[in-house]
């Protein structure tokens, strides 16, 4: 694992990726700090982070797009398979390298509240709680990015899908206010989601029967539930969109609450997506 980690880090610093990522993050948070803390003279550093979290939409996909897609393209994944290391070690090594890369600009950012506290009344626990949440939020998004990169061998596609997914996630709470909250609307959207899930299963397993089976079972279950108790679906869609939002949970920290459930949520998401990435890489061995 350390071999992969070192190799990845060296690669990032050889190329522009690490610098672009760090520069973008620092620039954006820097602009935020100037706007909020200096110009508007607000003493809450966490607002800057809330503003800065938008930049994840661009920089996370840039950082993660090549991580596995490039291996597939250059056929170096065959080397990884033939080396005496497990796929899990490969993914973990790559992920830790990304985290280290992310921690470097974050270390610079975590210095910011200190000079501000010299000139005003900065409540440091909230600032640092938010920085921690900012780190975990980024770490979860990076895990999502790694998984997306593992699905394709086209870096551009990985970046595009990554941007779309994170952007959608960023706005999902605002969007949830506009979507239908009726039971029928929720059922319709869930149907579409089930079909998408079916397509994904079919793509991953190349097994049509399994995909059809899962789809049919889910649709049947949903229909049954809808006719038995239609009210269960009321307001479900906005609720789901809010629950799935990674950014919404970050805002609890910004509002000055240290939310342990949110941290657990982020960690489970990281574990889930790393697990999926391992499976996605492992799957190539089977077809």
């Amino acid at each position: 694992m350390t071999a992969v980690l070192k190799h990845e880090l060296r690669n990032y610093f050889h190329s522009l990726t690490a610098y672009v990522f760090g520069a973008f993050l620092l620039a954006f948070v820097g602009i935020g700090a100037v706007l909020y803390n200096i110009q508007a003279a607000v003493s809450n550093f966490e607002y800057v982070l809330s503003f800065g979290s938008l930049i994840f939409v661009v920089i996370v996909p840039i950082l993660t797009m090549r991580v596995i897609a490039e291996e597939k393209k250059q056929k170096t994944d065959q080397l990884l398979y033939s080396l005496p290391i497990t796929t899990f070690q490969v993914i973990l090594g790559k992920y830790l390298a990304l985290l280290i890369l992310y921690l470097i600009p974050l270390a610079v950012i975590s210095v910011y509240p200190l000079p501000f506290s010299q000139f005003g009344d900065v409540y440091l626990p909230t600032s640092y709680g938010s920085i921690l949440a900012f780190f975990v939020l980024g770490a979860a998004l990076i895990a999502v990015g790694v998984f997306i990169s593992s699905l394709t061998e086209n870096q551009g596609l990985a970046a595009g899908v990554g941007i779309a997914v994170i952007l959608l996630n960023y706005y999902s709470v605002s969007l949830s206010e506009y979507v239908s909250s009726t039971a029928l609307g929720s059922v319709a959207v869930l149907l579409v989601l089930v079909l998408v899930l079916g397509v994904v299963i079919r793509h991953l397993t190349r097994n049509e029967n399994l995909a059809f089976g899962v789809c049919l079972a889910l649709i049947a279950g949903m229909m049954l539930l809808y006719f038995l108790d239609g009210t269960a679906f009321e307001g479900l869609l906005p609720q789901v969109m809010k629950t799935l939002s990674l950014f919404e949970r970050f805002n609890t920290f910004v509002n000055g609450m240290f939310d342990l459930t949110a941290l657990v949520y982020y960690f489970s998401l990281i574990v889930l997506f790393l697990f999926l990435s391992v499976q996605s890489l492992e799957k190539r061995r089977y077809n």
């Binding site: 071999a3 690669n11 190329s15 170096t76 065959q78 080397l79 033939s82 080396l83 290391i85 061995r285």
Partner: protein, 324 residues
């Protein structure tokens, strides 16, 4: 030692490898021969743990590649068909990564890198970017990677494809050299190459093993029924009488050539074609008839290859149609 038992790999309906079994003893150069699409790369990918099998078992030095992949993989160095190189690195950086991934550290790593760099003769380019290297050098870097960690078994998938003649000779020399202290398995669809380097040949066609023998034995296998043509001085009847006494001739045709010479074409079913030619020589000698010419028609490996791969049980057409 490598044992492959009942190995089968299906891609949907297409059987890439069909119930393949063989045992490879240590310390030789083995050639893996077969036409394109015969299942060579698939078999090698399964043997090195890059691909799963639908059925069957592969054991490398006693370690099952599916059950104990890490231990088994430590015994193997593998160069896939397309060398898996990171184009933005130098050979030295690349080898350091592979060495570390194989568990080498510190002085042992440096010593191993120095050794494989010398062995594959890439000293001159070790600090150049891999993307700037010629195909031959890229191939060598790929082989160097396989040699790291001093594995017992080295598997090379078509290592000479796309190289110029001088590079091909150099890679062949390298393979021969490696065969002195490693078990080397390399695949090729070029016969002469396999014939010159390998001590044993596996011929695979349509996913099945159809021959596994030394090159000489493979030749012998198709030597019978053999053909001998000869030219002798004397009358046709005389020659016929002499030949009638020689045992082992299955069919015979004579032809007068003028100037008191007769040519004969004999066929035999005898295993030992040299036995027949010896008998012919003494028969003519004892009758005081000069034998002017005698030639044996031996099957060469090319013909064996063609014959064997064509004989292979034919499910190809339906399979070919289903190939992705």
């Amino acid at each position: 030692m490598i044992t492959v038992e009942h190995l089968t790999k299906c891609y949907g309906d297409f059987m890439a490898v069909d119930d393949l079994s063989f045992t490879i003893e240590g310390g030789h150069v083995y050639g893996f021969l077969g036409p394109n699409g015969a299942g060579k790369s698939t078999t090698m990918n399964i043997m090195t743990g890059c691909l799963s099998a639908t059925k069957g078992q592969v054991k490398i030095e006693g370690y099952d590649i599916f059950q104990q992949p890490e231990k088994a993989k430590r015994m193997i160095g593998y160069l896939p068909e397309q060398p898996p190189l990171y184009m933005n690195e130098t050979p030295l950086e690349y080898l350091r990564f592979v060495g570390e991934a194989k568990g080498l550290r510190g002085a042992r790593l440096e010593e191993q890198i120095r050794r494989v760099v010398a062995q594959t003769r890439i000293e001159g380019v070790r600090n150049r970017c891999i993307s700037a290297l010629s195909k031959g050098y890229k191939q060598r870097v790929g082989i160097a990677q396989a040699l790291l960690g001093n594995p017992k078994v080295i598997i090379l998938d078509e290592p000479t494809v796309g190289l110029d003649p001088i590079q091909i000779i150099e890679i062949r020399d390298l393979i021969r050299e490696l065969g002195k202290d490693h078990t080397v398995i390399f695949s090729s669809h070029i016969l002469s190459e396999v014939q010159t380097i390998c001590e044993k040949i596996l011929i695979i066609s349509k996913g099945r093993l159809i021959a596994f023998d030394e090159p000489e034995n493979l030749e012998k296998r198709l030597l019978a029924p053999g053909e001998i043509t000869l030219l002798a001085e004397g009358e046709e009847d005389q020659v016929r009488q002499i030949l009638a006494k020689v045992p082992g001739i299955a069919s015979l045709s004579l032809k007068r050539e003028g100037q008191g010479r007769v040519s004969a074409l004999l066929r035999t079913r005898q295993e030992d074609i040299y036995g027949l030619s010896r008998a012919l020589f003494f028969a003519f000698a004892s009758h005081n008839r000069p034998l002017l010419e005698m030639s044996l028609k031996k099957a060469n490996l090319e013909e064996i290859f063609l014959e064997l791969t064509e004989q292979a049980p034919d499910k190809t057409q339906e399979r070919e149609a289903k190939r992705p």
